[in-house]
């Protein structure tokens, strides 16, 4: 289960990075709506990836 969580974490991070690259590439190709779409997807994916790294709560 821990390996699955780690794999999902890395997949989300890679997806976010790829989405950022695609978004900036679309901006250069004058595809503004696509750029916004990819940047939004990247932001959500990266936030998800970092949310998975929260340490165990000490008061539980």
């Amino acid at each position: 289960m821990g390996r699955v969580a780690n794999a999902v974490n890395i997949v989300l991070f890679v997806a976010a990075a790829a989405a950022f690259v695609l978004g900036l590439r679309a901006l250069g190709d004058r595809r503004d709506v696509q750029a916004l779409y990819f940047l939004l997807v990247g932001a959500i994916a990266l936030r998800s990836a970092t949310d998975m790294l929260r340490p165990r709560s000490s008061n539980r």
Binding site: V8, L24, I44, L46, A49, M52, R54, R56
Partner: protein, 235 residues
Amino acid sequence: MIAAAEPSEALPLTERTRVLLPGVYAWMLTVGLPVMARGVRTGPRLTAAGALVALLLALSIVGQRLAIARLLGIYVFVLCSALTWALLGSDLSPAHLDRVRTALGTLGWVLYAFGWGRVRTLPEAGELRIAPGAPLVPRSRLHARAMPIVAFAVCTALVCEGLAFRVDRPEHAVLAHGAAVACALLVLSAGSRIALAQGTRVELASPAQRLNAVALRGALLALLFGLGLVWAALR
């Protein structure tokens, strides 16, 4: 008779000097010298003097009343300096400015800002300031997966920065450079955190909790992915 003890929170002279010297230097080069020129009216001279007085006053009370000292030494000092520049008007036009002096003055303002950043309240003797948080982990060797993740993050950041230069529309180029910097910083920050979390002794939440934490955003991502596919198919 017992002599009056010095306040325990009084800052050492080096702490004051760290703000005083750059502040006076920046004031002298960028505010003092322009108002000392011939033909300058009384208004700018008064505001310039006010700035210097505020700075000196702030440093005299910085150990006892840090909030007031910051108000005087940062806000009043900068406000009076800016007011002086505004009142100087055409006397401060780029044609009348000495470039070397301006550059040195800028350096003075930077050092002044860093100097204020170091000024802090010292804790009372015996007072413990322990911030709550996860226990710190001792140094250990990085996991084998860590380096590829960091390398990937660095490469992605560089690619993002490079892609911003492909945007040829002026307004969009500014947006692209801003977005590229933000993306690069976010990817580097997240990449380093993920790399450090690989196989270390950091106690992360349980796998189920970690997966549950991304359930909602995962659903949102799936929805966006589906919408993207439909959009691509319709085009």
